[in-house]
């Protein structure tokens, strides 16, 4: 059938199962927007293209499906770069469609022309410029396949305007993909699995570390089996929070720079680390030469480049986490004798960890006078019972959200870990709320970060999204101030936000509800109002100004050198 390129694109997206597109129009994508109303997609009109990409990313993290964004050429395209890099660093599947000037003008510095394929090459998993309109369906099929398979990531497709406007024969959306050079490796090598099981049974002090890869593989049930069957303690990276229930007795809390004392001590004393879908980021390992000094390491990761990039491992397993855990389960079941009481196995190790946890619990100095940010997070957990999707901005707010909320299920914490993008949390919350209109979605924000994408209040209000923004307002770029306090002689250069807008009035101006609390006894009341409201809410929590995030491992120090409260 003959069809316009723009229609072919939308037909393909429909067949791909796309339901939501986050976008912002412009000249180069007019043909697409012209056809869009004839299709059943929900199009979410944002107020800034960065918001569209973060929202698509939040949608993807919350659902596990591929998020989609659509923007125009030139400035529309460049505005997506931060969002794309954010998704890239955290391995999140999104497909971004950008408009491009007509093919004949490419390279001529045409109006709103930019080489977005060149710009995003290092921060996409792959990208395409559609030069031949007959290849459009194949490219779209590949884009979605590449984005979601293997180690997921963002894919960009650049669409010249004349490709969208031309009429060509459309023979349907391809059923399958043929990529000679791309074949993700899902199944583990059985020999490695055997060795891993052997090591687990030899070990006296095993520790499981889980990361974003486990969530992305949907292998959390399989992890539960492994951890609970053998009673092995579990910690996780920031990106792995929610993969293991935060209220389980085996849970140690997050590890790394702002990890719990017990989790970091566990790494230091373990004789075996089972690392599942983590990439040993420097925020996790601290100084590399003193990381896990006594441990052998089993590392499951689908991406060979993650293995031995930073840390030497004894048993690399290149595979999907879920597949590897299933294989490991089958193997381990063979080791277990029926009458054996497994709960005794690592008891003395667990006792040691419990003792560390009791001597150095995660804590903070409480106050009746000023609102402690940690207290706000605890209240949020208490009021929601953990049944919420939490997104965060970046900085102290993010770390307190990681430490003091208990994540019970995967895909309930959406946070920019790798790039650390201020301004991520709110648009991501919009994406999550679009996916789950009935869930409680809360962006835990800082007064600095929230101003980076505050314009999306218009989006949230327009689509009646009951997103809650809880600003931990300390009048500082708090995390940077903390570093200045600790490592730069309290020289608070450019970190005091001496002027902030009135967030309550700002919310109201956008048609959202605004609340403020300035004293601890107001916190619960205000949060209850916001959580019960069906509207977009902004809660301005005026908190302790110079509160620090502890524990803290200074950058470059080893995990045992923690600064405590």
């Amino acid at each position: 059938m003959k069809m316009k390129g723009a229609k072919i694109l939308l037909e393909c997206l429909k067949d791909e199962g796309v339901e939501v597109i986050f976008g912002f129009p412009g000249g180069a994508v007019l043909d697409i927007y012209h056809e869009l109303p004839n299709y059943p997609f929900k199009h979410v009109l944002v107020r800034h293209e960065q918001g569209a990409v973060h929202a698509a990313d939040g949608y993807a993290r919350a659902t596990g499906r591929v998020g989609v964004a659509l923007v125009t050429s030139g400035p529309g395209a460049t505005n997506t770069v931060t969002g794309i890099a954010t998704a890239y660093m955290d391995s999140i599947p999104i497909v971004v469609f950008t408009g491009q000037v007509p093919r004949a003008l490419i390279g001529n510095d045409a109006f709103q022309e930019v080489d977005i394929v060149g710009i995003t090459r290092p921060c996409t998993k792959h990208n395409y410029l559609v030069k031949d309109e007959t290849q459009l369906p194949r490219i779209i099929k590949e884009a979605f396949y590449i984005a979601r398979s293997g180690r997921p990531g963002p894919v960009l497709v650049d669409l010249p305007k004349d490709v969208m406007a031309s009429t060509i024969e459309f023979t349907g959306y391809p059923k399958s993909v043929h990529l000679r050079s791309y074949n993700p490796h899902y199944h583990p090598n059985q020999k490695q699995i055997k060795k891993a099981a052997g090591l687990i049974f030899e070990s006296k002090r095993p520790l499981i570390i889980v990361g974003g890869g486990l969530i992305s593989s949907s292998g959390c049930e399989e992890l539960l089996w492994l951890a609970r069957k053998l009673k092995i303690p579990v910690t996780s990276t920031l990106m792995g929070l929610g993969a293991f229930p935060g209220n389980d007795p085996l849970w140690l809390g997050m590890l790394g720079m702002h990890g719990t004392y017990v989790a970091n001590m566990a790494v230091n004393h373990a004789d075996l680390i089972i690392a599942i879908g983590i990439r040993f980021d420097d925020r996790v390992t601290g100084r590399l030469d003193s990381f896990a000094p006594k441990a052998k390491i089993i590392h499951i990761d689908i991406d060979p480049t993650s293995i031995r990039k930073n840390v030497n491992v004894d048993i690399p397993i290149v595979a999907d986490c879920k597949e590897a855990l299933i294989a490991l389960k089958n193997e381990i079941e063979g080791y277990i004798k029926e009458e054996e009481d497994l709960s005794e196995r690592y008891q003395s190790w667990r006792d040691k960890l419990d003792a560390w946890n009791e001597s150095h619990p995660l804590t903070y100095k409480k106050s009746d006078e000023v609102i402690k940010p940690q207290f706000v997070i605890e209240k949020l957990y208490e009021l929601t019972g953990g049944d919420a999707i939490i997104t965060t901005e970046v900085g102290q707010n993010q770390m307190w959200a990681a430490q003091h909320f208990k994540y019970l299920k995967p895909r309930t914490l959406l946070t920019s870990g790798g790039l650390g993008t201020m301004g991520y949390g709110f648009p991501a919350a919009i994406g999550a709320q679009i996916a789950y209109p009935d869930k409680t979605v809360i962006d835990i924000a800082g007064d600095g970060s929230i101003q980076m994408n505050i314009q999306e209040l218009a989006t949230a209000v327009w689509y009646n999204l009951p997103v809650n923004i809880v600003i931990l307002n300390n009048s500082y770029l708090g995390m940077v101030r903390q570093w200045q306090e600790l490592f730069y002689h309290k020289n608070y250069s450019a970190t005091h936000l001496s002027y902030n807008p009135d967030f309550v009035k700002l919310a109201e101006a956008y048609g959202a509800e605004g609340y403020r609390a300035t004293r601890p006894d107001e916190v619960e009341k205000v949060l209850v109002k916001a959580l019960n409201s069906k509207k977009t809410c902004v809660v301005d929590m005026v908190v302790e100004k110079e509160e620090n995030v502890y524990p803290m491992v200074p950058a470059g120090a080893s995990l045992s050198e923690m600064l405590l409260v």
Binding site: V117, G118, R121, P122, K125, H126, L129, K131, I146, L179, R180, S181, Y182, D303, P304, T305, R308, K309
Partner: protein, 161 residues
């Protein structure tokens, strides 16, 4: 250590920049890079000479394999191989130098491919060490211009250990 990598790629417009960008973005070295089409339509072979310890070379190979447009990567250091590079050299060749230059050309089995009353252009092929030795020897006459192809490599048919 120096490694020679044979990288078979899809011959699409951005591919060179993807590979080059990977090296520059991750701080890997490129000593030399050679690209040319293969017999199979739609593919090119890149020969990259790079430098790094074991862990870095391992990362480079894995990162290359991760690029969607890269079909195959072979670390030529792990096989018996033939390596060759070609160089064109324009040297000063006044009358009183000519005999000596021609002797060197003869010893190194290279060719004179262009000549004028004051200059000679020499074409030489060999492994990198041979070419460096040749260049060293010719330096004293004054090398006016140099153009090297970068290394190309091929696995030997007989892989005796």
């Amino acid at each position: 250590m120096r490694h020679t990598l044979s990288v078979l790629v899809e011959d699409e417009p951005g591919v060179l920049s993807r590979v080059a960008g990977l090296f520059s973005g991750r701080g890997f070295n490129i000593t030399s890079l050679n690209v040319a089409p293969t017999l199979e339509k739609g593919t090119s072979l890149m020969t990259i000479v790079t430098e790094g310890d074991e862990q870095i070379i391992e990362q480079i190979i894995k990162q290359l394999r991760k690029l969607i447009t890269v079909i195959k990567v072979v670390d030529m250091n792990s096989v018996k191989r033939v390596e060759r590079e070609m160089v064109l050299l324009k040297v000063n060749a006044q009358d009183h130098y000519r005999a000596e230059i021609l002797r060197i050309v003869d010893i190194f089995r290279c060719k004179v491919v262009d000549v004028s009353s004051t200059e000679m252009t020499i074409e030489a092929t060999g492994n990198s060490e041979k070419l460096s030795a040749l260049i060293n020897l010719l330096q004293k006459f004054g090398i006016k211009e140099i153009a090297r192809t970068g290394v190309v490599a091929m696995k030997r048919s007989m892989q005796l250990v």
